[in-house]
Amino acid sequence: MSARLIWRKSLNVTMLSLTGLCALLTVSALFFILGYLMWNGGKDLSWNFFTRLPAPVGELGGGMANAILGSLKLLLLAALIGVPIGLLGGVYLAEFGGRTVPFLVRYTADLLNGVPSIVIGIFAYALVVMPMHHFSTLAGGFALGIMVIPTVLRNTESFLRDVPSSLREGSFALGANKWRMVATVVLPAASRGILTGVLLALARVAGETAPLIFTAFGNRYWSPGWMQPTSSLPVIIYTYATGPYEDWHRQAWAAGLVLLGLVLVTNILVRTFLSGGTSFERS
């Protein structure tokens, strides 16, 4: 073998192993993060964590029940605001749209999807907090809802497009009109994929902190109704992690573990069990 060939072959092996190392480093980050959070947060998870209010500053113990409930309420609002608009908008793009309007909507959806979440927070602040003159669960849910719309819309559209046209034609042949065809044939056929999109979008906003800081704000107590500021898991992790108390730090780890666990479990379950998309094979 000439020296040139040896050089080329060894370069081949070196560079290819380096790419393997890059891939390995990237994926191992996830396991490292998960392991480190379990190590640090696992020991502070207790029954009290899920059922108690935060203890007054300086006292040990206490929990995050209000933050967990607050996060659930925010997610519910986000789903109520974001899912209908996203779903119906997706139906429009896939079933009713012409040419120019869908292009515009699609482009805007991608644009809105890329807007930094903190800017969405400013928007919710201007639209909900400023007229009401105080922070509220409603404002936080509104911000998260806006972030849900583009994902659900684009996802719904793409899964509806995967439904084979023979199904549409069959339904027309049976005498159904268009809205009935969409509602009883096409939507059910794409329902698994659409549900996947909705759940992934909600899992994504569940971890959003930035748009909540000046909309839902925070609260050391329960937040009755929808018009009061509320605590939420991501914001309390931020507050506790940047706070001065050792006990807060320990609780931030525990809350981080809970949040990460929720997000990852949702992602894994949805992606493994629902990822079939439509119940039909792509042609």
Binding site: L11, L37, G89, V101, V105, L174, A183, Y238, A241
Partner: protein
């Protein structure tokens, strides 16, 4: 809808076909209208978003004009606001992140697209997608308690000893600062570079690879000299996409960047970013001018990410469309 369509329709049709036809058309039109309204809501929200940012930043825009972007002072008490330290910090942290994430992400993508067996490739992509789903506040948490101490005691002194002659690696090692924020950001954007680059690499036609190999190229040569150049526009797209994300990333940066509106050449220096100042000061902003200056920062951030995202999408579209156009089917 309790009745099935084919059970109800024939009976009605026999009764009065023309009226039914009209009614059906009417129902279609209502459905069309409702879905159109939903789609239009999205447009409305976006227009309203831009409008609000524009109108609410009016006070700062008229008072400071273009000098807002070149002024270094940020003094809420005196009512003197300049965006330069925040823009600087945002760009520096993002470019540090890119410098680390692009080689890692593109390298990983090459492995997943060219070398790994399909099963391994898809399961590793799955893990990388999960990594992209980790909330940013979790990265911040790890950044504050794990990365900052390591940076202070180990990484920054080591950099200072070896590369200390560069102005980038000088000054006291606080742990927090541009470099730490950039590293956290890098970990956050790697999954985006990886998965998009993998997709554009996979879109390169198979016969390109085979032709290179048939000419006697090694696997690496066919990848590096044929496949990667063919996919380079799409890879640039993935980089822009990642950059747009890094610019707007808030929590992780806020927690480790140091929150000090200062412009320094050293990466060890604490700094600030646009998103971080919004997160820290927005809820406490007193006075209309202060709030309006913050909202103008939000507008800047919006425009930056808007341009980058548009560009990225265009580039990715160009590559995947061209690639799949020549794919054998």
């Amino acid at each position: 809808m309790a009745t099935t369509p084919n059970a109800a329709a024939p009976a009605d049709l026999a009764w009065n076909p023309r009226a039914l036809l009209r009614r059906m058309r009417g129902a279609d039109e209502i459905a069309h209208l409702i879905t159109l309204i939903a789609a239009a809501t999205l447009l409305l929200i976006t227009v309203l978003l831009v409008y609000q940012l524009w109108v609410l930043s009016a006070e700062a825009r008229t008072k400071f004009g273009w000098s807002f972007f070149v002024t270094k002072t940020w003094d809420p008490v005196a009512g003197d606001f300049g965006a330069l330290p925040f823009i600087y910090g945002t760009l520096v942290t993002s470019f540090v992140a890119l410098a680390l994430a692009v080689p890692l992400g593109v390298g990983g993508a090459i492995f997943l697209a060219e070398l790994a067996p399909p099963k391994l490739s898809s399961s590793l992509t799955f893990v990388s997608d999960l990594l992209a789903a980790v909330p940013s506040v979790i990265y911040g948490l790890l950044g504050v308690f794990l990365l900052v101490p390591i940076m202070r005691t180990t990484v920054q002194p080591a950099l200072k000893n070896t590369l200390g002659f560069l102005p980038l690696f000088q000054g006291p090692a606080y742990g927090i600062g541009f470099l730490t924020a950039g590293i956290v950001l890098a970990i956050m954007i790697v999954p985006f570079v990886l998965s998009v680059s993998r997709e554009v690499l996979l879109a390169v036609a198979r016969d390109q690879r085979e032709a290179a190999l048939a000419l006697g190229a090694t696997k690496w040569e066919s990848t590096w000299k044929v496949v990667v150049p063919a996919a380079r526009i799409g890879i640039f797209g993935s980089v822009f996409l990642a950059l747009a994300r890094a610019l707007g990333e808030t929590m992780a940066v806020t927690m480790v960047v140091g929150n000090n509106p200062k412009i320094a050449a050293s990466l060890f220096s604490p700094g600030y970013s646009i998103a971080a100042v919004l997160a820290n000061e927005f809820s406490e902003a007193t006075g209309n001018l202060y709030l309006s200056a913050l909202i103008e920062l939000g507008l800047v951030l919006f425009l930056l990410t808007f341009v980058l995202n548009g560009l990225a999408r265009l580039l990715i579209l160009v590559t995947t469309a061209r690639g799949s156009g020549v794919l054998p089917t």
